[in-house]
Symmetry: C2
Subunit: 360 residues, 2 copies
């Protein structure tokens, strides 16, 4: 009865597969391949930014995120109020990525005894601030002690009309690939914070050098969700053919759209919108600037495809950039560098058992 | 910027409030007292088994649970398949407690590198088994590494017609207090498993003595949700005035109903349904049998109130026991012992930072 081998795997000796061998996407595929759906009102299950459920009148969107201290956030440089705000925003972003309206969230927390009630007040102040800004109702959750550190699990419900919902799988060859805002700054903000943490660890009397990097640090610690894009696109008469939010990095999200739509793509490196200081900082850090956008993640901008015939409507819209186009699946998924070279787009999700921020 | 005091509380010296001072319910009250609701379709927020959202046609029920290894479960005696099944069932039970129909779940997991893919296969086999039995669709989730141990966060959506939903706050003086099934066996199962674990830790060559306790161990490791009660009550023409599921123990759940309904109650100790072997085991363990029901929890039976005029309809229904009645709020919340003494009903939720199973 006790010490069953499935509970305490010993690794290779029992022919067991380690999670790092599979990687995040391999693990998800493995765990979900036997999933059955029993309800016709479940219009979309696993595989998009949110599940889609037909509730009769409205379509209900459901998404969830799990954030673990030491994996997804570092409290040495993340104020708890910012963390609460960001935890809510990343969920709200998932609803924006479906072109829905965020409505309700539940917040569950697991906390160790090192946290005071005042610390959790700060966390909830951030959550409530995001709820106020995005008009989202905090409707439930679960509180528990944890063995170690802080754990936050947020689930969100959004709504939208059936014809409004935008999935990842609707991109067609010839469609234009568009992105909102600029990319890579959240990642540069993370590098700055991690760098100053190392300086602090070596010499705790040193004051961190964070001034002048407000934009990058703000993008990392207090991102916003692009709930405004729904109205903007509706206003100019465009309905994207596919959409996803950029949480893991542009490369990863493009591949999601291409895989699920069964298409290829051509991305132009020089078109990727990167803020000027972020570009300079990347070079200073000896990183190719486009890599901050392609692999950095956490910008929470939206990536979407539109029909080519919508080009005139979108070409002069401020804050939206056309970065490439969709191709036949046989053309593959490539980025074209400024000197005309084709580079295969690759992406890693969460890499097995390593710290998420270490694998970027 | 670094080492902010709200992130690393030092305890009393900064006048901070420890979580153990507040307790679970105090913490929930504190964190949720400033919550605003922005959407009229949010019919019920925090404070019931599930939130209730008006989706136009149907009412959407939303609930969530966070389960942490070392706090909520012990893998030395919990097979992962059972754990997956139970994790789904406790959420399904929340929907049953609202008189709704469970429909969709999301499952997020955080796993440390000690788990193999095969171990997670077992966990998901249990989840899928519960989904099949209760006709629930697994529609999404999140996978992540964890710093330590296994973390499972499940959210569930249920549906029901507006007039079908049953809240905690509808009990009226004179109503009868009813419970499904029997109580306390899940707690006795836990004590047996914990006892055998201690024996094993002292002498790993000892075989655990679990035979003969199938009912108690089954109630602890593989509980079921009472989704059948909805149809049973509908069939005899009864709509409860309030309802809750018994996850924390009968005492705690009775107090939830009384507090939210603004009423008192009289519970008769001798009426509490306790399975015969569980009663004998409790005495053997030097525990008053009713305490296994009052404080044990995890039976996932339903506690509900009905109008007195429904007495004739319910009195002979097998598997439902009338255990008391609702009184005026000024009468307080009391249990009457077989020798006629009145004992104030008290309950603790999760007790600050201690292990949940230790505080029972």
């Amino acid at each position: 009865m006790f010490e069953k081998k499935e509970n305490k795997p010993k690794g290779k000796s029992l022919n067991l597969t380690s999670l790092s061998e599979l990687g995040e996407f391999g693990l998800i595929d493995r765990l979900t391949k036997t999933v059955n759906l029993y309800h016709p009102e479940t219009r979309k299950g696993i595989g998009d930014d949110a599940a889609v459920i037909d509730a009769g009148g409205q379509m209900i969107l459901l998404s969830t995120d799990l954030l673990i201290e030491g994996v997804h956030f570092d409290l040495t440089y993340t104020p708890l109020k910012h963390l609460g705000y960001k935890a809510a925003v990343v969920n709200i972003s998932d609803i924006a990525a479906m072109n829905g309206i965020p409505k309700q969230i539940t917040v569950s927390i697991g906390v160790s005894s090192r946290f005071s009630a005042q610390a959790l007040d700060e966390l909830y102040a951030g959550i409530n601030l995001a709820c106020k800004k995005y008009k989202v109702d905090l409707v439930g959750g679960d509180t528990s002690s944890s063995v170690k550190g802080l754990i936050i699990s947020i689930s969100i419900i959004g709504m939208g009309k059936q014809e409004e919902i935008i999935y990842r799988n609707g991109a067609k060859p010839g469609d234009l690939l568009c992105v909102t805002g600029d990319l890579g700054s959240a990642y540069m903000g993370l590098l700055i914070l991690e760098g100053e943490k190392k300086v602090f660890q070596v010499n705790p009397d040193m004051q961190p050098e964070l001034t002048g990097f407000d934009y990058q640090i703000g993008r990392q610690l207090k991102p916003e969700a692009r709930t405004d894009i729904r109205n903007l696109l509706q206003g100019i008469g465009i309905k994207p053919t596919s959409m996803i939010d950029i949480s893991d990095g542009l490369a990863s999200e493009i591949l999601h759209i291409c895989k699920q739509s069964g298409v290829g793509c051509k991305l132009f490196e020089e078109k990727i919108p990167i803020e000027e200081q972020t570009r300079e900082l990347a070079i200073e850090y000896k990183i190719i600037p486009s890599v901050t956008a392609l692999s950095g993640g956490e910008d929470y901008e939206l990536l979407f495809t539109i029909q080519q015939s919508d080009y005139e409507k979108i070409k002069d819209v401020e804050g939206i950039t056309i970065i490439g186009h969709i191709t036949q699946p046989s053309d593959g998924t490539f980025m074209i560098t400024p000197d005309g070279k084709s580079v295969q787009i690759t992406a890693q999700g969460w890499d097995g058992m390593k710290n998420k921020t270490e694998t970027l």
